[in-house]
């Protein structure tokens, strides 16, 4: 019977708002907004010990510049603090070290010509100490994203291939020859699997963006999903990847893709959701959501905030 109480319950169960439950997404129990900055936040990354969430913060004063912020996963947004504030330089694309003590990131400084020279860095989350990890030539353009492996190597894209540098820095080495195996595909956002056996990345071509997985032992690269959004993937466990999937003109949903059979489950829908990241042994996922992407004036990141979805336990 559709009593007022039942209608209210239906609205709450399938509805929208800062607290939303999804009626048809069995894997997701609850979705809540956890950041509420003055302009926008994105790129959440949960520390391996599950204690901290690092994210990219955009301020109204410098709306197009990334600042790196930290907040306790059990805290409120008022507990969040700046780790790397506005300096006029370009940085972001973070990844946690296995001991949760460092974040790798790509930083760039503009030369007088306006060309940005990028390098790979790490920053200590306790002291704020910053150390360069590579010494790349001036004018180097690094793809997008860093990823810190269980073997303490940091992966990044350069010149359409995927390279690594050790956590202590030094020379870089090519890890995956994408140019040779997938001509015309530019790899963005490399992401190590938790066991260090595979690297997922978004391959961009003139026509589309696809999710690829490279097996480091067999050297095979396989496409597992088409039509992903502008952001990067994140491993949920050794066989499943979280990725954002474009749905129509203005929506993007968080999907979980099983790399063994390429099956997928849609975890969110109806919004512009990007940059998913798993946390705390699969109990939560974090992502950036813009609940009203139709706003046309002002900075692009306005309205993006970080949301957390509680996951039901489910087997692969």
């Amino acid at each position: 019977m559709f009593t007022t109480r039942n209608l209210l319950r239906l609205f709450l169960v399938c509805g929208f708002g800062p607290l939303a439950f999804f009626c048809d997404k069995g894997e997701v129990q609850q979705i809540i907004q956890i950041t509420s900055g003055r302009l926008g936040e994105g790129g959440p990354q949960c520390s391996p010990d599950g204690h901290y969430l690092a994210f990219e913060y955009f301020s109204p004063e410098h709306p197009n510049a990334v600042q790196l912020w930290l907040m306790p996963t059990t805290g409120k947004f008022s507990d969040a603090k700046s780790l790397l504030g506005y300096t006029g330089k370009s940085y972001g694309e973070i990844s946690w070290s296995q001991d949760s003590a460092w974040l790798s990131f790509i930083g760039g400084s503009p030369e007088s010509s306006g060309v940005i020279s990028s390098q790979v860095f790490k920053i200590n989350v306790a002291s704020g100490e910053i150390a360069p990890l590579a010494n790349l030539p001036a004018g180097t353009s690094l793809g997008a994203g860093t990823s810190w492996s269980k073997h303490e190597q940091i992966a990044f894209e350069m010149d359409d291939d995927i390279y690594v540098v050790s956590k202590s820095g030094g020379s870089v080495a090519k890890l995956i020859d994408v140019k040779d195996k997938l001509p015309g595909v530019s790899p963005f956002y490399p992401s190590w699997s938790p066991d260090g056996a595979r690297v997922a990345f978004v391959g961009r071509t003139d026509q589309e963006r696809g999710l690829y997985v490279a097996d480091l032992e067999s050297r095979r690269i396989e496409k597992v999903l088409s039509n992903v959004a502008d952001d990067g993937p994140s491993w949920f466990d050794d066989s499943r990847i979280l990725a954002s999937h474009v749905e129509g003109q203005a929506n993007s949903a968080i999907w979980m893709v099983n790399i063994r059979d390429k099956s997928h489950v849609s975890l969110t829908h109806g919004f512009y959701d990007i940059s998913p990241a798993g946390c705390a042994d699969g109990k939560y996922i974090y992502f950036s959501r813009n609940a009203d992407i139709s706003q046309t004036n002002g900075p692009l990141m306005r309205g993006f905030h970080i949301w957390r979805a509680s996951m039901r336990a489910f087997s692969p």
């Binding site: 994105g42 790129g43 990219e56 955009f58 410098h62 197009n64 510049a65 990334v66 370009s90 972001g92 694309e93 760039g108 503009p110 306006g114 060309v115 940005i116 990028s118 004018g139 353009s141 997008a144 010149d159 530019s186 963005f188 956002y189 961009r204 003139d206 026509q207 959004a229 502008d230 952001d231 990067g232 203005a250 993007s252 512009y272 990007i274 940059s275 813009n290 992407i293 706003q295 046309t296 004036n297 900075p299 692009l300 990141m301």
Partner: protein, 134 residues
């Protein structure tokens, strides 16, 4: 400007820049790097391809703009309107690299018009005058 290149032509980057200067044509700031460092430009039908020596990132007005080695787009020109559509190889960094999709300009009078730039999931609207676009 791109529409006046002809139907099937190839030119050097220097010729493109000289032509733009002669025509007193100014690109929106966020698109300027793809021309300033071009080594060659070609047009086949309505499709324009701009080549540069290598991919590079530029700081333009506080934004990071990435220009891939090859940038391609369609040119559409109507009465008082101009558009670059189906853009590939051009993106802006807002934490993640959002791709430019299309740029549309519609004139609202002499030296005045509206500029809509579709980048990533959003369309950014700007009003243009002889002083530039805001």
């Amino acid at each position: 400007m791109f529409n006046n290149l002809g139907q099937n032509v190839t030119a050097s980057g220097d010729a493109l820049r000289a032509g733009m200067k002669e025509a007193n044509f100014t690109m929106p700031d966020s698109l300027a790097p793809m021309v300033s460092n071009a080594t060659a430009v070609s047009k086949s039908g309505s499709v324009v391809t701009i080549e540069t020596a290598k991919r590079a990132d530029y700081q333009v007005g506080g934004n990071t703009i990435r220009v891939d080695k090859t940038v391609r787009f369609n040119v559409e020109v109507g009465k008082g309107t101009a558009a670059l559509t189906g853009i590939s190889g051009l993106s802006a960094k807002f934490g993640i690299f959002f791709g430019f999709h299309e740029v549309r300009y519609s004139s609202t009078g002499e030296n005045r018009g509206n500029l809509d730039i579709k980048v990533g999931p959003k369309t950014v609207h700007m009003t243009c005058s002889s002083d530039g676009c805001q």
